[in-house]
């Protein structure tokens, strides 16, 4: 709390308060400065390092080398496609369920909420391990037997990982709506479930949806454990491989990854600003 917001008259604060308050402020600045230093230095370090590939001068050689690497292009494209599939899958799974639970089965809401939190409780590596045991070639659902099957399994795994973020984003969006009334109004006007979901709810929770989607995108894009254990050519394992085999390219990759994370978070904020939740005037 700052001096300006303090509602006491200055005289009541007393003689000793001012220097002490200045000391507080100096300490706050010092702590804040240290924080900035800690957070900024690795970013500066990775940018500087990524420019060092050509001897004696700064150049973009590391970026050229990364961007023209067919492995990079292939794995990056694979992960982007995977992220998009995960987003669609996650939305298809979470949006109707969250709606349905709000309208028809409010009793079940704590259960659904608990299930969506589980991927945060069970470590990713354990879930991936479970997949390898449950869906191997000698199981009842031998998904890891074929490439397509493994890809599908990976998408399902990512959708599972995204569940907590997706559900919370959409549930927060729905919280601001009167879902019950909207649904009833739509039904009276003859709307089916398809229309209700796509033409009534979707536009209303669009911002929430976008933030869930971008968060999912940035998580899936660099994901390592699932892709590595299911042995799929994704961006995460590629980054690990580069780290072990190249000198300056990893820093360039880190810069790219950071830019993407930053971009996703920026887009979440932008979405909130561009599509503010509009309410009809009464």
């Amino acid at each position: 709390m700052t001096e300006q917001t303090l509602s006491l008259p200055p005289a009541a604060v007393g003689r000793t308060a001012r220097p002490r308050r200045n000391a507080w402020r100096a300490m706050s600045w010092a702590v804040f400065g240290m924080g900035i230093l800690y957070f900024a230095l690795p970013l500066i370090g990775m940018i500087e390092f990524s420019l060092r590939k050509r001897r004696g001068t700064y150049s973009l050689d590391a970026y050229t080398s990364v961007l023209t690497d067919p492995q990079f292009q292939a794995t990056f494209a694979y992960s982007v496609v995977m992220s998009l599939i995960t987003i669609v899958l996650g939305l298809a799974l979470v949006l109707p369920t969250a709606l349905w639970v709000r309208i028809r089965l409010p009793r079940l809401r704590p259960v659904i909420e608990f299930i969506t939190l589980l991927p945060l409780v069970v470590p990713v590596i354990v879930i991936a391990f479970g997949y390898l045991r449950m869906f191997n070639t000698s199981s009842f659902l031998p998904m890891t037997g074929t490439v397509t099957g493994t890809n599908v399994l990976l998408a399902f795994g990512y959708a599972t990982l995204a569940l907590p973020y997706m559900y919370r984003a959409i549930d927060n969006g729905l919280r601001t709506l009167d879902v019950q009334t909207l649904t009833e109004a739509a039904q009276i006007l003859g709307a089916g479930w398809f229309t209700i979901i796509f033409r009534v709810m979707l536009p209303n929770v669009f911002t929430a949806l976008l933030s869930g989607a971008f968060l999912t995108f940035s998580i899936v894009l660099g994901e390592y454990v699932f892709a590595a254990l299911l042995d799929r050519p994704a961006f995460g394992p590629y980054m690990i491989w580069t780290g072990g085999n190249k000198a300056y390219e990893p820093a360039a990759l880190a810069v790219i990854a950071f830019a993407i994370t930053w971009g996703c978070m920026g887009l979440i904020q932008l979405a909130g600003r561009l599509f503010p939740h509009t309410r009809a005037k009464r």
Binding site: M1, E3, L6, L8, A12, V13, R20, R21, M27, S28, W29, V31, F32, G35, Y38, F39, L41, P42, I44, G45, E48, F49, S50, L93, P96, R104, L105, I115, L118, L120, V121, V122, P123, I125, V126, I127, F129, G130, R133, M134, F156, G157, A159, T160, L215, S218, G222, V225, L229, G236, M239, I240, G243, G244, A251, L253, A254, F258, T261, M265
Partner: protein, 290 residues
């Protein structure tokens, strides 16, 4: 009567039909795989019930890995929570200009998600043997941190790197709680003659304590399950339990397939405890934020 009952059953069935896709998906791709692992931990090579596999977790190699993971998580969570709290408190209540807050929270959102492999690369580029800061300290100030015993690929190096996402997560979560501190409490404390320190020690911190401890538990679970950063940073030189399990699954050290189940089960137990603490304390923390 019978028709009314039939209608009721039909309605209930219809109600449940809407959640079946979700329940089926999470059952097959989340619950069953986890349960499968848990059961596997209690099964011997012959398939019968046994506690022998779990007992192997206490053999030195695995016990040490668990202990290392717990220590890394404890230190990174404690330091992350402590320093993150200080930074957030400094920005929100330390007399800094108000426009600093929004960028800080946004940046924390990015930094909390900037984990995994790229984070390790960023730190190698900064504090590795050829990193920017290492070289500047050596060339400009004559300080060689590597001859002074610093090593990024070490226990403390790992904790130091983990702090990046731990601190940002802390700032992200604790900022709303800090902003929820009521101005009246401070004013009341000051008009009763409390100093700034007394206000924090006797009013603000007790109110924030559930949030603080809860977030600490969350940070603990957060770093306990992490693997990619450690893998990229240290290879397998710091044998965290996640790294061990990864190797075990990959088949590098697969003498006993059931051992993997046991390790996974141990991890679930530890993160479950940490997360339960988080959930319980978060509910308690919310009582003050109304």
């Amino acid at each position: 009567m019978a028709t009314a009952r039939g209608a009721y059953i039909a309605r209930t069935a219809a109600n449940w039909a809407g959640v079946i896709p979700f329940l089926a998906f999470t059952l097959i791709f989340l619950l069953l795989p986890t349960v499968n692992i848990v059961f596997g931990a209690f099964r011997g090579p012959d398939g019968g019930f046994t506690l022998d596999t779990l007992a192997k977790l206490f053999e030195p190699r695995l016990a040490n890995s668990f202990w290392l993971s717990i220590r890394v998580s404890l230190f990174s969570a404690a330091l992350g929570a402590g320093i993150g709290f200080l930074v957030a408190a400094a920005v929100i209540h330390g007399g800094l200009p108000a426009w600093v807050r929004a960028p800080m929270v946004t940046f924390s959102g990015v930094a909390a998600n900037f984990a995994g492999v790229p984070l390790a690369f960023a730190f190698i580029a900064t504090l590795g043997r050829l990193g920017l800061v290492t070289i500047i300290l050596k060339d400009w100030f004559g300080i060689n941190i590597y001859t002074m015993g610093f090593n990024l690929i070490s226990f403390w190096g790992l904790v130091f790197v983990y702090l990046y996402f731990q601190m940002s997560l802390m700032i992200l979560i604790i900022s709303p709680a800090l902003e929820g501190l009521k101005r009246e409490w401070r004013e009341a404390a000051e008009s009763l003659g409390a100093s700034g320190l007394q206000y924090w020690r006797m009013v603000a911190l007790p109110v924030l304590m559930p949030s603080l401890l809860g977030t600490f538990a969350l940070l603990f679970a957060n770093s306990f399950g992490a693997i990619a950063t450690a893998q990229a940073l240290t290879g397998s030189s710091q044998s965290l339990i996640t790294v061990q399990l990864f190797a075990q699954i990959r088949g590098d050290v697969l003498q006993d397939p059931n051992l993997g189940y046991a390790i996974a089960f141990g991890m679930i137990v530890i993160t479950a405890i940490a997360n339960s603490i988080y959930i319980v304390l978060r509910t308690r923390a919310e009582t003050w934020q109304k």
